[in-house]
């Protein structure tokens, strides 16, 4: 449902598609890398013909394994899989991880304390870590977090932290992919750029 095959206008876009970043089996979208490394992106942009960002390690750069698992479970709640993939399958937790090492470094403390708060809520309600809860119980914890007024970091409360995670998840899922793997969100919509 789109127009993007008109001659002479797609070379830049094609280029962006061609230089997706491959590391092992996991391929992260270039747009995500731009958010993590804006300076390198600027450099790359200035020498489009043949520029490259090099390999982007798959390992988490901001989250520790437990935090990554919790945030991944949250993204799975925000956009669950059905007959089409959800945010977990699209690797959106990596998008958030890259944001927090890149252009949204400022939100790092909010995430660390927010995740602690999420875990406290989960323990309080069910005596377990968030990721260990059944899906429906995770939903209940997040419904509580969504309206939670408890201050967590820098004047932000639990509800606002949930809003930030929700927005980041939607952006990672529906934002421009520049690469096949994360076009899950676009496929859900039938959008092709």
């Amino acid at each position: 449902m789109s127009k993007r095959n008109l001659e002479g206008t797609t070379s830049r876009r094609k280029f962006l598609h061609q230089c997706g970043i491959c590391t092992g089996s996991l391929v992260l979208p270039l747009a995500w890398a731009k958010l993590a490394f804006p300076q390198q992106h600027m450099h790359m942009h200035s020498q489009e013909a043949g520029g490259s960002l090099g390999a982007l390690p798959v390992a988490f750069r901001f989250f520790n394994p437990a935090q990554a698992a919790a945030v991944e479970a949250v993204t799975d709640q925000i956009i669950p899989a059905d007959d089409q993939p959800g945010a977990k399958q699209a690797g959106v937790v990596h998008y958030i991880d890259l944001l927090l090492t890149g252009v949204r470094k400022d939100l790092g403390p909010a995430y660390i304390q927010g995740i602690q708060h999420l875990e406290a809520l989960a323990h309080g309600m069910n005596g377990k870590a968030f990721v260990e809860l059944p899906f429906a119980d995770q939903t209940k914890v997040l419904e509580k977090l969504e309206h939670d007024q408890t201050p967590i970091a820098k004047g932000r409360n639990g509800g606002e932290f949930f809003g930030i995670m929700g927005r980041h998840t939607l952006e990672g899922f529906f934002g421009d992919p520049d690469h096949e793997r994360s076009s899950a969100g676009w496929k859900v919509l039938g959008f092709s750029g």
């Binding site: 449902m1 206008t9 925000i78 939903t139 919509l189």
Partner: protein, 555 residues
């Protein structure tokens, strides 16, 4: 300080300033065109919602086309109340693009002429309580030749409103071909007995003066056009100005104040480029075109023994009367696909200005904007009670991404008593300049107009097959930062006690300082203001050139 010297300094290279620079340079004046923002080129185009759009840029609150994250204003609804610090990602920030080309780089390009009655609201309706509305010092007929010039010089496509003002010539370009939304809306509007037409857009529908026709991509409003099909001043008149060899463009150049000589005549500016030192530049005349917030800020900051409260502020008028036209939306939900992803978006319009005797003012209605995933995600209203996450939400969004239509509803705004742009009494920016403080609410006069147009939008959507509709965005006397359509803060008028500039755009009692931006607009129309800014800029330029040739600016 070292001082360059030119004939004219134009401050602000946006919708108005770019035009003035071109006109003055083509008339033989040596011009310096200064803008505090960057000079983007087509290589900066980035069709990516995360990294290329004005509003979402990098998730940081930075606006892609300026201002940067350090710039702020202060805002409050009413005089006498405390103002809060607001940054550019805050809806209370009066935002336009801060770059060469200004808002025209990233706007949607709606290019209406104001209705002739818009210039005479006070004569039509009398005094309106709580408003400071006055008739314009010029008529529509005075401005008509300049509307025409703007349409041809910039490149506007579309059709004349069948109930719009008199015009001598058609638009220079045919309308864009109908996309799926337009194909649905035109017959529906005709079945209702209405007169739909293709809205005027600053977009090329075919090759125009060396620029290619629009490729109909989805990345239009909020984006720099990747093929230069959007008729921004950055790709039209500013190149004309530079081609003369008489105009120099200074990007990332901040002006601190307008200087005054020993006889009280303005004679230049103090400015700096990039991180360089403050410099002086001298000129015979100065044109301020920095937006309806930054223009009054600069005039008020230019204090001297001759102008103790700022240039043009003898009667305390600078910054008063600021307002904007108003808008709201209606969304229609269909059980069939109604969009096809083609930009720019607006393809079918209705003009309801001055059409109903029971309604004062009125406004326009059109569909849009282009359909990209995050833009739609953040604007499409959900059914009551539905969460903004989870499987139900995913299903809703999947179902309605292509099966909804958004109608833009416009209405006249009014200058409201108490509205003001002035200098914050305490807060300064990183350069030590006092920031603008905006005090503004929308006048309640506009609410019935918006609701009336929304009613028409619902009728149209239902006729087109919508199963349901949802309204967004009308509030009575909302606090409003004047938004992206800020105007009227240095308005033109015949009485210096109630206006800042005269009918030529020259500041009352100041022989060589002109205003040529949205500040000048005496009151809004029921539609987007940009072409009126541009027609006024052509008219102001004509006045300056005539005065210049007559020797009046060579004192």
């Amino acid at each position: 300080m070292s001082g360059a010297s030119v004939d004219a300094i134009v401050i602000g290279a946006g919708a108005g300033g770019g035009i003035v620079a071109a006109e003055l340079a083509q008339a033989g004046l040596r011009v310096a065109l200064l803008d505090r923002g960057r000079n983007f080129t087509v290589a900066d185009a980035d069709d990516n919602e995360l990294t290329g759009s004005h509003a979402l840029y990098n998730q940081t609150g930075v606006q892609r086309f300026g201002p940067d994250a350090t710039e702020f204003q202060t805002f409050r609804g009413d005089p006498g109340t405390p103002a809060s610090k607001v940054y550019a990602d805050d809806y209370r920030f009066s935002l336009v693009g801060w770059c060469v080309g200004g808002g025209t780089v990233s706007y949607q390009g709606l290019s209406w002429r104001f209705h002739q009655k818009t210039f005479r609201l006070k004569s039509l309706y009398g005094s309106i309580p709580g408003s400071t509305v006055e008739d314009w010092p010029i008529t529509y007929d005075d401005l008509e030749p300049y509307y025409e010039k703007a349409e041809y010089e910039l490149g506007i496509c579309g059709e004349a409103s069948p109930v719009g003002p008199r015009r001598r010539k058609p638009y220079p370009m045919r309308p864009l071909d109908d996309d799926r939304e337009a194909q649905l809306l035109f017959p529906a509007a005709r079945r209702l007995g209405w007169k739909p037409f293709h809205p005027p857009l600053a977009v090329t529908s075919e090759e125009y003066r060396g620029r290619p026709g629009c490729i109909r991509c989805s990345y239009c409003i909020g984006y720099l056009c990747e093929v230069e099909a959007k008729s921004s001043t950055a790709v039209t008149v500013i190149p004309q100005a530079l081609k003369t060899g008489l105009c120099t463009l200074h990007a990332q150049a901040v002006v601190r104040e307008i200087t005054v000589d020993g006889r009280g005549r303005p004679n230049g500016v103090i400015y700096r480029e990039g991180n360089g030192p403050w410099n002086e530049m001298q000129a015979k005349l100065i044109v301020v075109a920095a937006s309806a917030v930054e223009t009054p800020r600069l005039l008020l900051s230019s204090q001297s023994k001759w102008f103790p409260t700022g240039i043009g502020n003898r009667y305390d008028q600078v910054g008063r009367h600021g307002h904007s036209d108003l808008s709201a939306a209606v969304f229609g939900y269909f059980d069939k696909v109604v969009g096809d992803g083609q930009g720019p978006g607006p393809g079918c319009a209705l003009d309801f200005q001055f059409q109903d005797l029971n309604l004062q003012g009125g406004g326009v209605l059109y569909n849009g904007f282009s359909r990209t995933p995050l833009r739609v995600l953040y604007s499409l209203p959900r059914p009551k009670g539905m969460k903004s996450w989870g499987s139900e939400f995913k299903e809703f969004y999947r179902q309605y991404f292509w099966k909804h239509l958004r109608m833009y509803c416009g209405a006249h705004g009014l200058p409201r008593e108490g509205n003001r742009v002035d200098l914050d009494p305490e807060l300064k920016d990183a350069l030590g300049m006092r920031v603008a403080r905006v005090t503004a609410r929308a006048h309640k006069w506009s609410a019935p107009q918006l609701e009336w147009v929304q009613g028409r939008a619902e009728q149209l959507l239902k006729e087109a097959g919508a199963k349901s509709t949802t309204r967004t965005g009308v509030a009575l006397e909302p606090e409003t930062p004047m938004g992206q359509h800020a105007l009227g803060s240095c308005r033109m008028g015949s009485d210096p006690r109630s206006s800042v500039a005269d009918r030529t755009g020259r500041i009352h009692d100041v022989p060589n300082v002109y205003v040529a931006d949205a500040s000048l607009i005496t009151n809004s129309g029921g539609c987007n203001p940009c072409l009126t800014i541009q027609a006024l800029a052509y008219r102001v330029s004509d006045n300056i050139v005539r005065e210049w040739k007559g020797g009046g600016l060579n004192a």
